[in-house]
Amino acid sequence: MSDYRIQGAKGDWEVVVGLEVHAQVISNAKLFSGASTEFGAEPNAQVSLVDAAMPGMLPTINGECVRQAVRTGLALGAQINKFSVFDRKNYFYADLPQGYQISQFKHPVVGEGIVLLDLGEGKTKEVGVERIHLEQDAGKSMHDQHPQFTYVDLNRSGVALMEIVSMPDMRSPDEAGAYLTKLRSIVRYIGSCDGNMEQGSMRADVNVSVRKPGDELGTRCEIKNVNSIRFVRQAIEVEARRQVDIIEAGGTIDQETRLFDPNKGETRSMRSKEEAHDYRYFPDPDLLPLEFDDAFIEAAQDSLPELPDVKKARFMSALGLNDYNAGVLVAEKEQADYFETLVAALAKAAKKDEAAVAVKASNWLTGDLFGALNKAGKTIANSPVTAEQGADLLVLIEDGTISGRIAKDVFEIMFETGKDAAAIVEEKGLKQVSDTGAIEKIIDEVIAANPGQLEQYRAGKDKLLGFFVGQVMKATQGKANPGMVNQLLKPKLDG
């Protein structure tokens, strides 16, 4: 893959990207109150008086949110700070009843870490994480429900967010996309965030600047609240182009906050946000410093599952998968789990090593099942064919009960009906014919029925072997064991 460049009138430009990802922490209760975090409740029904910022209410930290932030930090190989401080970030907005957001400014709970990007064809790149801090989400404003009023729902107010801040290490829309994809995969693996971008549990602020390759960093613009990986890519593309056009026309870039409009495919200034940037951070006098010990960190470490990078390496080294398939399988935890269940069940039923059946399992999963799921608009989580059922099907091929060709038909029926493979094979009489006598009889019939082709074959037209194989398979409705057909057919044709 060559370097991403924006072609300007006066040469090529490089784009520099950093991301601030807001990830909603998976917890039952909010960061500082006992109100529920569940999505989709009646407006203002999941609000405590703390979240509504009533006078005299005091915040109390939810330990689970701290644990989840620490687990996320550990999953990114990051430094964990046993001492951190909550600050007030002051700004005025209708859905922020406190008039400030409790966040972490100078002393975040997690320090520097790393995300390894998978860029395809076995290529990887390290992107630095500068910090992760814990903060409160704001409420939700709805501007289109009433001609004069904005409606405010505080259900989200006070829900815990992790702000994961990257270094400005990305150099293309693809790298930014790969970073978000990987980060989402990791938080979903460890269960610290559900990664659901449609519901807003993960969203990104995208910092974009351009420069001539090798130059100092240019002035950046921040594109706020981009809520899909596709939009992040698009926003970077159009914003970089906009900046190049301005600079080449002799202008300069103003550091500002912008909004991406996916319908118009453009970014535009949010000037009103500018003065709000004076956040006047100071330590929150309602909260003492956040402290925990090594045992807390160790327990968090012990609770982590095998992470995607490690899993991928294991799939390749221990199970013999190629880089591409291993990458596809580990991208989503549900897929990796399905694959591991499938391989274990298949190995057990076929009485073979997992390594001996893994590639077949992987090919079936990434080819047949993913293809069918994709076509049906389903995901692995609601697959009509379970991993155990998949293993049962593959065993039937392994032990010669059905051919690979017939297996595809059986799979189609399984996918539609959810029935077991063995039942379908039995019901439809799809068992592979491996009886020498039966196959020989059919071969004799086929040869007798096609004297012309036989003559041509014997005259040297070798290609007709395929024709005879096809005729035999047709006569058996595909049930003849193809290996045996080949073996038995040739001597008979040769006479």
Binding site: A29, G34, A35, L49, F92, A94, F149, D153
Partner: protein, 96 residues
Amino acid sequence: MSNIDKATVAKIARLARIKIEEDKLEPLAGELNNILDWVEQLSEVNTDNIEPMSSVVDAKLRWREDTVDDGDKQDSVLKNAPNAEYGFFAVPKVIE
């Protein structure tokens, strides 16, 4: 010497959404400067190698369990709202 001018007072007031009449800005700047100068006396004390004090008592941050034990009180939450409709706070339109 602190140096808060009229423009700074106006800016702080705007950020805090406090309305201050033009003729009050100058006197307020003077008052704020006096306050800051008074606090400034603290800088005479040498605080090298001294950790910031986060509490006057020897206390640690209290943690809560991750259990839902609050909420479900829409009426109380909205009780003091100048205007509420359909369970929402209804505030003057603040669209960008």
